[in-house]
């Protein structure tokens, strides 16, 4: 049974009790506890269940590498799954619940999975997907859905109430890790004057040196650590961050660090997480090392832990996983745990050492305390169902014949240590397999490189393979000096610090315990605890032909859980190498990808949510729209009024009313979002001739011309009206969404292809407010407010423009129409837009002047058969498809897209072409419906011969109208074709279709009599 020791625990304050709950049960811990240490201290051994087999699991580690003790934290709005108990600092009122159990943590129905041994072997999901669909749907899916999944997803209807933020920083050095190596690096860099950000992921400086009994300069490590932190805090160029994990290292020295600001002490008005976005010249990864488990049968049972984690819990928190702890190891380091346990008054029945001999200083010290040391031995099996009852010992070089049962309630295991090389590897640093220590370490000749082709990450201390504390500080100092020299910064001449720790003898790699274990045992040796991947699964993958470690990972799911294989990767690939008869470096590692450990989605989003999710562009008239109940729709970064519903009016009724008001009286449209680009210079006409499919250079000042713009690929990308302001100045109107894109397109061609042409462009979209005054009474309204421009048909005909004053405002008036009505589009300086709008509304009252929105605009343009970029076009449509040949110059030698439009596929007469469509019953065709054709294609799907591109109810005509692209459409006027629908048909009956007649796309005023007045 796990327990709290009567004394000890360097990080807890026994005078401060903290009350929290686990699965609704009220428990007490101490200030400074992690959730794992507090649960352990409360006698709670089972903390979660595994993903696949739902096996009961206890805590195995003491940091971010923890695979088992994952919990749901918080409730309701603050609920968050998959939080590691080992990195969760407890606070008053903390609420945690266990995951993956159904119906309860202690009795779980999924445990039955493990009783069907062949049920979920390696590649289970892949093999299952091959089964016939009904089998999958009715047998596997319900079962998997009920039992799988890590934690409970937050309720999507609830908004996270916490705040998150992002900081940007530029610095010389980021030092990742605040253990003794990181502190040594910071001291040296600090003396050199470098700007340093030192990040430690936990709440404490110093790493594991204090737990391991390291002495520095003749004093306990703790003393040196405190002095080092005091010194660093006084240096202005050193920025210390606790609870801040360097999550990833990216191209050219970009670093992300994740700071958990107030997880340990939730309170209002304090940001919860902070994401640091850092540009650093160099990164020093002083990230330490992680202990590896050993693969023996039953190594996943609650009470089996990493030896270092047992030590951490006893020394740091005064919590222990049991009273009788067997140690099993292949190295000297684990003997420290035996000494710590004995010191704490707990029983260590024996140390099981897989090596043939164990004669180093630490084993000798253990023996001296009267503890049995059994060399050449291993664990054959762990007895106990929901916890450890006994360890059955065997010879390591045998097949597992049990020699002795040792009664115990916990097992501390150590398979050696692996340097944490993640940050080195994120951006391409390569690794070396160091055979004598059995670990991968950074290859100093192949670092990740920056924009100058120079290495910019260096590992320091244990992360660099200098595991033994005696070497750690020396290595950290050397690495830091190398980094500073690369940065042309001074280095100190300080001597290496004197570190005293016992010497250690070599470890013996042990990948399977015992070495000749049979299949039954191998099926009980866990590699990946979280995803339930065993030695037998990796060996099965190898037998089934998976030779690449990346493939094996995906096939077995080894290392694919939230811990990303921090404990399992090396053991897994060693087992794979063994099964393939290959050397470990030949098998290689999987790719290390950021983040090092999971970071919150809140931190990634930062402040970019709600109203701050993206910038909002506002026209000068936006305030009026908001005050007058506009229903908005997003158009790029704009919010445009879709319609202006009156009280009790539906959107559809509002749209219909607005259309009829325009057609019969006068309407006002806020067209300010329309793109406006000035193109100016002696070569402006020549340039526009290249940009547009028709000729613009022949346009006379005072006139407007509609034009089409294509990409070099030939596809239609934008359309609009060009007005020639003077001999060398054109005003190009683009679509609302197109202004920035078209301006960039112009600049691209001007800067990169025709850079000797004398042309300037300026995007003046927001410099003007533009209001369309539209309808038969438009001229009467403008004449009423008074103009010094002659607005008569004769003086200012359709497609003309003029400049002057209207109603006292400086204005440019364009006689252009997107509705087919008499229309004046009037641009005034943006600052006067709202006043001009108000004036038009006030003066227009007697004419019934009606503001209208984008939907009325769209319906009216469809009634006139005008195309809309984004409806009739989708990046695959050329102007010829839309019957716009009249706007394509035959005379010009060249324009963007001309060559592409000569390609055989573009000139194919079988291309679908634009027509109008009228349903026989007057209904509205569904948007996006396909025109059905006879026969089926090679996939057995029905053939099609066209599709709907725009479809509306036309209040003007009192029926549904549509535009679409149909094969040979313009030659098939009057023909009736069928369109598909999503309406449900009676069982067994053919799917419902709608019949429509092919007609001209111009439904309203085909002669243009209304606009030419």
């Amino acid at each position: 049974m796990s327990l709290r020791l009567p004394k000890g625990g360097r990080l807890i304050d026994r005078d401060k009790r903290v009350v929290f709950s686990f699965n609704g049960k009220r428990l007490t811990g101490f200030a400074g506890d992690t959730l794992a240490s507090a649960l352990m201290g409360s006698g709670q051994r089972i903390m979660g269940r595994s993903f696949k087999y739902h096996r009961p699991r206890g805590v195995v580690a003491s940091g971010v590498e923890e695979p088992n003790a994952l919990v749901n934290l918080g409730k309701g709005k603050t609920h968050e799954p998959n939080q590691r108990a080992t990195t969760t600092e407890i606070f008053q009122g903390l609420q945690a619940t266990s995951q993956n159990h159904w119906p309860s943590l202690s009795w779980d129905i999924g445990e039955v999975n493990a009783l069907i041994p062949r049920f979920l072997p390696a590649g289970f999901y892949y093999k299952t997907f091959i089964h016939p669909r009904p089998f999958w749907k009715h047998v596997f899916e319900p079962f998997i859905r009920q039992s799988a999944g890590l934690g409970k997803a937050p309720d999507p209807k609830l908004q996270d109430p916490d705040r998150y933020e992002q900081f940007y920083a530029h610095t010389d050095l980021v030092i990742a890790g605040g253990g003794i190596a990181g502190l040594q690096a910071a001291l040296e860099a600090g003396r050199s004057g470098a700007q340093v950000i030192l990040c430690e992921q936990s709440a404490h400086w110093g790493g594991r040196a204090p737990v391991d009994g390291v002495e520095i300069e003749g004093q306990p490590a703790e003393v040196w650590i405190k002095n080092a932190v005091d010194t660093l805090e006084k240096m202005e160029n050193i920025h210390l961050r606790l609870r801040c994990m360097v999550a990833g290292v990216y191209d050219h020295g970009y670093v992300l660090a994740y700071e958990r600001v107030s997880d340990h002490a939730p309170q209002d008005d304090v940001v919860r997480h902070r994401l640091w976005r850092i540009r650093s010249r160099h990164v020093i990864a002083a990230t330490g090392a992680l202990e590896r488990p050993l693969s023996f049968a039953g190594n996943d049972k609650p009470g089996v832990m990493l030896a270092s984690a047992v030590r951490d819990h006893v020394v740091n928190y005064g919590s222990a996983p049991g009273e009788r702890v067997v140690i099993v190891t292949n190295n000297d380091d684990a003997y420290r745990t035996a000494l710590v346990l004995a010191e704490a008054g707990l029983t260590v029945p024996c140390v099981v050492d897989a090596r043939a001999r164990a004669e180093g200083a630490l084993p000798k010290a253990v023996r001296a305390r009267g503890i049995r040391v059994l060399a050449g031995m291993g664990i054959s099996n762990i007895k106990g169902l929901r916890g450890v009852v006994a360890a059955q010992l065997c010879r390591q070089d045998g097949a597992g014949e049990v020699i002795e049962d040792v009664i115990c309630d916990a097992v501390a295991m150590s398979g050696g240590w692996s340097p944490v090389v993640h940050l080195w590897s994120h951006c391409g640093g390569k690794l070396l397999w160091e055979k004598e220590n059995s670990f991968f370490r950074p290859d100093p000749d192949k670092p990740p490189t920056d924009q100058n082709g120079e290495g910019f990450v260096i590992c320091a201390g244990a992360a660099n393979g200098a595991l033994h504390a005696g070497q750690t500080l020396e290595d950290a100092l050397n690495s830091t000096r190398k980094s500073l020299q690369d940065l042309n910064m001074p280095v100190s001449d300080q001597a290496f610090l004197k570190v005293s720790v016992p010497e250690e003898e070599k470890l013996e790699p042990v990948w399977i315990m015992p070495a000749k274990a049979g299949p039954k045992k191998r099926a009980k040796m866990w590699l990946d605890f979280q995803n339930d991947v065993k030695v037998s699964d990796v060996q099965l993958a190898a037998r089934e032909g998976y030779e690449s470690v990346e493939h094996t990972k995906r096939y077995t799911t080894l290392g694919m859980a939230t811990d990303q294989g921090k404990l399992s990767n090396i053991n897994g690939l060693a087992v794979l190498a063994g099964a393939l008869g290959a050397e470990i470096p030949q098998v290689g590692t999987t790719t290390f990808r950021p983040p090092y450990a999971p970071i919150s989605m809140g931190a990634i989003a930062g402040e970019a949510r709600g109203a701050l999710f993206q910038p909002l562009r506002r026209t000068p008239i936006q305030g009026w729209h908001e005050d007058n109940g506009a229903h908005f729709e997003p158009v790029g970064y704009w919010r445009r009024p879709y319609c202006f519903p009156r009280k009790g009016e539906s959107h559809r009724d509002a749209v219909n009313r607005e259309i009829l008001a325009v057609r019969n009286g006068v309407g006002l449209l806020d067209a300010s979002t329309l793109g406006k680009i000035i193109v100016k210079g002696p070569d402006a006409g020549r340039f526009l001739d290249m940009l547009y499919t028709n000729v613009m250079s022949s346009l006379k000042p005072g006139k407007c011309r509609y034009g089409l713009m294509c990409s070099e690929n030939g596809f239609l990308m934008d359309d609009g009206v060009v007005a020639r302001l003077d001999e060398e100045t054109f005003l190009v109107h683009t679509t609302t969404g197109g202004a920035d894109r078209i301006h960039a397109h112009m600049e691209d061609w001007l800067q990169c292809e025709w850079w000797d042409w004398k042309v300037y462009t300026a995007n003046v979209t927001e410099a003007f407010a533009q209001i369309a005054v539209v309808g038969p009474k438009a001229r009467a309204l403008l004449n009423k407010i008074g103009a010094d421009i002659d607005l008569s048909k004769e003086a200012l005909p359709f497609m003309g423009w003029a400049e002057g004053r209207i109603g006292g405002f400086d204005a440019r008036v364009f006689r252009i129409s997107f509705s087919g009505e008499l229309s004046f589009e009037i641009a005034v300086p943006a600052s006067q837009g709202r006043a001009f709008w108000d004036k038009l509304l006030e003066a227009g009252a007697e004419f019934g002047a009606t503001p209208y929105g984008t939907e009325a605009l769209h319906v009216m343009r469809a009634e006139k058969g005008f195309i809309m970029i984004g409806d009739e076009t989708d990046g695959t449509v050329i102007p010829q498809d839309l019957g716009l040949d009249w706007a394509i110059s035959k005379k010009k030698d060249d324009y963007l897209g001309k060559r592409a439009q000569e390609r055989s596929h573009m000139a194919d007469p079988e291309r679908w072409k634009l027509v109008g469509l009228e349903t026989l019953d007057g209904s509205v065709l569904p948007d996006g419906s396909y025109a059905l054709d006879e026969g089926v294609n090679e996939n057995g799907q029905g053939n099609t011969q066209g599709r709907v591109t725009s479809t509306y109810f036309s209040p003007t005509l009192g029926r549904g109208i549509a535009m679409g692209l149909v094969r040979h459409g313009p030659d098939r006027m009057g023909e009736v074709i069928a369109f598909n629908t999503t309406k449900p048909a009676a069982k067994g009956a053919a799917p419902k279709t709608i019949k429509a007649r092919i007609v001209s796309p111009v439904f309203y005023d085909p002669e243009g009599e209304k606009q030419n007045v």
Binding site: Y254, Q451, A744
Partner: protein, 106 residues
Amino acid sequence: MLTFRCPYCGIDACETELAPGGEAHLKRFGPGSADADFEAYLFLRHNAKGVHFERWRHAMGCGKWFLAARCTATLEVFGTYPAQTPEPPQDIVAAIRAKRPDWSLS
């Protein structure tokens, strides 16, 4: 998250300030050109693993297009230069050769 020095502003611009424009030094083929030439101009790219000449625009800065020589494998940047440069400048070619003796301008 790459950084490039904008040859106009002289500042080291982060990728978030820049807009990519694909391979540099393409020769435009217009009306009258052979199908193969037009296809190559429009669609065929070196897709090099190694030194790559590419277009970037300082879109959130000065708005200028510039060209860069960058190794797509190591992310080393050998230099940036104005877009109005018909072929890679000598100093950049020399910088690449100094680091990659086997490299040749193709």
